[in-house]
Symmetry: C2
Subunit: 310 residues, 2 copies
DNA sequence: ACTATTTGTTCTATAATTTGCAACAATATG
DNA sequence: CATATTGTTGCAAATTATAGAACAAATAGT
């Protein structure tokens, strides 16, 4: 039983005029409003509201209590605000690890915007594709993309990374366009080497069946931009994230294939060291990233051929 | 999540100096204290307490919040107190129904004491042995003695009514003393006529077996005092409540028999109309009765031969 | 005057949250 | 160096809160 919740219900009823309206205002059921008022009256051993003729009116005790209650709730808001305002001017260091490709492009742009809005933040950005130990290496936070391993790290989802399969128009003119994932076996694949599973490209049929294609891998790289450049150069077919390939698609340098097959998507996550309160500047920053990215990130805008996530 | 509980935990920690001491002070586990503090810090997005080197100290934010929190909690106490104090001077009417015998003796004495302590209460006392309809007849409360029927009435137990079987010394000298309930068949019984079950006097053996005696009823009355007077006059044996017979036993005018057999006891109850908040003056009054009566009421004091309740 | 709608209350099944104990690492004390 | 106490956290159990439904009562609309 929360005294403040009861009081808040009471003042909301007085201000709204009815239990029903107070419930809507507070986002709770009117039965909960009724119960909280009754609890308050029981604890005070006094009737605060007359509920006669389908109208409410305050008793004398209710008038007395209402005036005091309003002040108490205002004081509580002030107390909370005064504490959180103490830290609105974010300051301090932000030691962040992120994947290279994502970090160099979308993340860094977003970080720079953030730093412009918070001049007292000092950034220490480590772009690498390793699964670093946050605690041992003293990071405040890392951005991870993919399917998270079970770990003690605290994770917060920032957005969705979608994938496409694509090649340059010239490659497709020269080698033909695969229309089924099995066709990829006869094509050159450009493989991202930092992915732990073997070079099988997973797809889901419109009927929901999982398929695995095995293109002939001629180029492996641990850098998505490098693979994208290879694809633009007509070196083969690549399957990769829209946050790298999206702009090239929009520019017509690459075109998507196998659009009717679902490409499994993955999450973009912030991960934090466990067991401790997340500092406000870290929390504000990850909120900022989540707002900027989300499940429909801006780099996916305009990609009408985007396959649905698995 | 209970804001009030969190803030209360925080101020307790500051005042007690440790989480453990605060837990003891609040009557909760230290793990609950720890969790509530963490919740508060999470909601305020700010560390309030340093927990370093096994000592606590307030952060600047914590100092700020503590001062405000203490004031808020004090204001809340004042607000609640000001409402309950408005009704400490009890006033208004008290319409009460009660059984005749109990009402004329113990209850009325207690009521008079109560009225002396609360001069603004006006009593409307209806002593009768009917099972009246509280709602229809506009009673605030009734006192009922016995085994309550299932009903919509709200009941509150005030105490225990114990029974004894007794007769005058002169009766026993003249007719002999029954030593087993079956012996009552050869004796004159004085029967209370307001009891719904037939004139069978129930007893429980020390082994827990239930027995029913059927004395020869020569006098029936719906008034316990009348039956007591008849017993004192040597007219027969009576089985009745100690709140009537206790004083006569202590004065030696009556003596108990069949003490080793358990006499079923019953409750003394306050009953209220259902479905509404019990007015404070009614609640204070029934508290007063419960304090005065209880499971070992004063009229049972000094009755060493009192049989144990069934 | 009758019907429909909305009110506040209360019961109940379900969901959510809280709680306390135990285990643990860390630190202070004897 | 051993012991005691601290605050934290996981987890099973207990407790509480919640929302929806049903109801009686009152108001508004026809």
């Amino acid at each position: 039983m929360d005294k403040f919740a009861d009081i808040e219900a009471f003042t909301a009823v007085v201000e709204a005029g009815t239990f029903s309206a107070a419930g809507e205002r507070l986002g709770i059921a009117k039965s909960v409003v009724s119960r909280r008022i009754s609890q308050l009256e029981q604890r005070l051993d006094s009737r605060l509201l007359h509920r006669t003729t389908r109208r409410l009116s305050l008793t004398d005790a209710g008038k007395n209590f209402y005036q005091r209650a309003v002040q108490i709730l205002a004081d509580l808001d002030d107390a909370e605000l005064s504490v959180t305002e103490e830290t609105t001017d974010l300051r301090g260091s932000l030691k962040l690890a992120a994947p290279l490709s994502f970090g160099l492009t979308h993340l860094s742009k977003t970080i720079f915007d953030f730093l412009n809005e918070h001049p007292a933040i000092e950034l220490n950005l480590d772009l690498n594709d390793r699964n670093i130990n946050l605690i041992e290496e003293g990071f405040d936070m890392a951005v991870r993309i993919g399917i998270l391993q079970d770990s003690t790290l605290v994770a917060r989802r920032l957005g969705t990374m979608r994938q496409v399969t694509c090649a340059s128009p010239s490659y497709l003119e020269q080698h033909g366009e695969p229309t089924h994932p099995a066709d990829l076996q006869q094509h050159v694949g450009l493989q991202y080497s930092n992915i732990s599973y073997k070079n099988q490209w997973g797809y889901k049929t419109p009927e929901g069946k999982m398929l695995f294609a095995q293109p002939q891998i001629r180029i492996r790289a641990n850098n998505g931009e490098a693979l994208a450049a290879a694809a633009v150069a007509g070196m083969g077919i690549t399957k990769g994230p829209t946050f790298i390939l999206g702009s090239l698609l929009k520019e017509g340098k690459l075109v998507t294939i196998l659009d009717e097959y679902q490409h499994p998507s993955a999450g973009i996550y912030a991960v934090y060291p466990p067991g401790r309160l997340i500092p406000r500047r870290i929390k504000v920053f990850s909120d900022y990233l989540a707002d900027r990215f989300g499940d429909h990130p801006y780099w996916d805008d305009g990609l009408s051929s985007l396959s649905k996530p698995a």
